[in-house]
Amino acid sequence: MSVIDELAGELSKLPGIGRKTALRLTYHLLKQPRERSIRLARALETLAERVHPCQTCFNPTEDAECAICRDPRRDAAVLCAVEEAADIGAIERAGEFRGRYHVLGGRISPLDGVGPEDLTVSELERRVAGGAVTEVIVATNPSVEGEATALYLQQVLAPHVARVTRIARGLPVGGDLEYADGITIAQALSARREMP
């Protein structure tokens, strides 16, 4: 296999990138200045070697704890549980939320063999069991699986925390948090409701 085929093959494994696009990107990289490709390669290397999940919230970081967990101005009593780390960026851009996060690492998805034990649910439970957390806002996606995951969290967390809330369904059903705009997210957060 040629180097070109190899790179195109790797690129096509990325989400949303088909074989054609992968080839186009590969030839684009060939045409651009050498230094730029080397910078990209170093960034990828650094990402793979130095970035790992935050020991507290599982948000990717180069340190033991991520910047949000270390920030003393962020309210440690309110946690927002999200499916993926990418969702944090979306909520941060909305600029409303002043608490901290917990990245679940996915959602309950029995058809893919993903159960609660494959997510960071027990870590969240331990975090909350400490007693310092007063509210967990569950911000999983409004898909069937996201809703089921929210209900499961509510069942597991209810004994440890005063309030478990769910962001409002302002998002289109099946719409991903990651792609929602800031205003929608701000509204979904402020209109959150107690889970029964």
Partner: protein
């Protein structure tokens, strides 16, 4: 308003390698021996309606042997869209739908875009077959005419397969919080299920007197009735209140959870309901003669056509897969008369032999098909 196909293009769909048709406004007749692909043409047109095989085949099995993908495209007038193109590639396992040149973001956007009703000898299964046949019938009629129903149906199915998968997983591994893991799928089932339940009950009430009248008009002497049959503790004859149904459904799911866990199956819900058809008070499914079952099956298709006319406001295409072959002459004549009444709709009739074409359709332009190839 009447929906009319202007052109139809098919590539590598079942045994149809290439079909390019300019379709006359009244429709057409296709003559060809059995097994040469005439039903495949109707299946392709129906695919433009429900985006899947009317015969329940998987998309991958619809691609012609040796081909990579199939395409069905039509230009139409009087529909919600003027141009529909559907492609399915075997390797990508992906369906792509273009509506008026723009790719549909969700398949639901294209569902029911070019509606049609197909009459076929296999329809007798609607009456004589198991409840799944009748559930699928009413689901398609309602989902193609109501976006809300379609959304609820997708949500319900998604939650149901996941609850069942969880039941199996819990049984296999014996996790301590099994009941909780199963329960988290139930609110979605109850909410979407209540929407399905209420819409089906409303439809059944609308349909019952019409079905009776249709069967009588075709020549059935005994009274044909239709009722929604449910395991839920709600009376389908009462007022269908969605909140109440949702609560009942949630309660039934909770009540059955233990049993469901033992048998890895969700026992309660609209996916277990049925539409009961009776003739003179007796179940048509078990007591009807073959002729009576055939008559009521055709009446159900006429009813589907009425549903589409009423809900979508336009007459669907009529696809006739030699449906009168086994009916006596009088009944066949009545049905043809009823199809011609009101807005007739563009008609696609396929028959094995030229002299099988009923008088009413002899004026339609005629094509022949052999080994998947249409005459020019």
């Amino acid at each position: 308003m009447t929906l009319t196909l202007l052109t139809l293009a098919i590539r590598d769909f079942r045994n149809l390698a290439r079909v390019d048709l300019a379709v006359p406004a009244a429709g057409l007749v296709l003559v060809g021996p059995n097994g040469h692909g005439k039903t495949n043409l109707l299946e392709a047109i129906h695919y433009l309606h429900v985006l899947r095989s009317v015969r329940g085949a998987r998309d991958a099995d619809l691609v012609r042997f040796g081909a990579e993908a199939f395409h069905v495209a039509a230009q139409a007038q009087g529909g919600a869209v003027d141009d529909v193109r559907i492609g399915f590639a075997r390797a990508a396992k992906r369906k792509k739908v273009m509506l008026d040149g723009v790719e549909a973001e969700r398949l639901a956007d294209a569902f029911g875009a070019l509606p049609s009703v197909m009459f076929s000898p296999r329809d007798v299964e609607l009456v004589a077959g198991p409840p799944t046949e009748r559930r699928r019938f009413v689901d398609i009629a309602l989902a193609t005419t109501s976006r809300r129903y379609l959304t609820a149906l997708q949500r319900y199915r998604a939650a149901l397969v996941r609850r069942n998968a969880t039941l199996r997983e819990v049984l296999r591994r014996g996790t301590s919080d099994g009941a909780t893991r199963v329960a988290v799928w139930e609110p979605a089932l109850a909410e979407a299920g209540a929407t399905l339940w209420c819409a089906r009950v409303r439809w059944s009430r609308w349909a019952a007197p019409r079905l009776g009248a249709l069967c009588a008009a075709i020549g059935e002497r005994e009274r044909v009735t239709l009722e929604y049959h449910t395991s839920l503790a709600v009376d389908p004859a009462g007022e269908a209140d969605e909140t109440h149904v949702r609560e009942q459904l949630a309660a039934a799911l909770e009540r059955d959870r233990g049993q469901d866990l033992r048998r890895s199956l969700t026992h309660s819900g609209p996916h277990r309901d049925d539409i009961t058809l009776k003739l003179g008070g007796r179940a048509l499914r078990s007591f009807g003669s073959a002729g009576q079952q055939r008559t009521s099956a055709i009446a159900l298709r006429l009813l589907e056509r009425e549903t589409l006319c009423e809900q979508a406001g336009r007459a669907p295409l009529v696809l006739l897969d030699d449906p009168f072959a086994e009916l006596d002459v009088d009944r066949a004549r009545q049905i043809l008369r009823m199809l011609g009444d009101g807005a007739p709709g563009q008609t696609f009739l396929v028959v094995p032999r030229g002299d099988d074409v009923p008088d009413a359709y002899t004026a339609l332009s005629r094509h022949t098909i052999r080994d998947g190839v249409l005459d020019a």
